[in-house]
Symmetry: C2
Subunit: 126 residues, 2 copies
């Protein structure tokens, strides 16, 4: 019973790991980060408008958009011939949650050191 | 003169982009994230101890450590035959700083909307 009930949890964890893999891989490129920055400044930008500032061709921009879309970092909607791109920040929040514990590195270790020092003090006063 | 003084800034920016590329690429792998999590729990772990929980061979672990080291996420020090690995969180802080503005997506847009609404209100009361 324990094993059965653990299965969905494992499935969830595998998906969570895969999501983090995709998010960080998508962020590991300056053009893709610039696209996200543009979408943060302006909600709903057409693909051709998005591509304009970059020194790369439209098909290359489309490939970057595919990577961002696969990672869930953008959504694309089509109206006639115009594809509008929007930012979708949920994966970024999950990445932040993963990173947060490292932000103040050594804090966990300092806590343990403080606890140890406290124990030493207590044993000395015995 | 303006162009000359801009050069170090450009150089700094290129380094900053490259650092973010390396940090996010290093984080895009579950084994490397597990190594960082282990180093956060325990300061100074030998390579063989680090490798133990993983179902991959030592040379594969060494390759992951190289990637983490190149990204500045770990430091390695050698004493005799033992290589001790430590977490180095500075690149994570930079990644967090980059991600932070997306955490509350739409917040920037909401601010602008609020500013626009305020302007509208002001012009109506004129």
């Amino acid at each position: 019973m324990t094993i059965r009930s653990a299965e969905p949890t494992l499935h969830h964890m595998v998906n969570y790991y895969r999501q983090l893999d995709q998010t960080f891989a998508a962020l590991a490129d300056p053009t893709r980060r610039a696209i996200l920055a543009r979408l943060d400044r302006q909600d709903g930008v057409s693909v051709s408008e998005l591509a304009r500032p970059f020194a790369i061709k439209l098909p290359a921009v489309m490939k970057h958009l595919d990577v961002l879309d696969d990672a869930g970092l953008i959504t694309r909607s089509k109206a006639g011939r115009v594809v509008t791109v929007r930012l979708s920040a949920e994966p970024i929040k999950e990445a932040m949650n993963w990173l947060r514990r490292y932000e103040r590195v050594g804090s966990g270790r300092l806590d343990r050191l403080a606890a140890y020092a406290g124990d030493e003090e207590a044993s000395q006063s015995d």
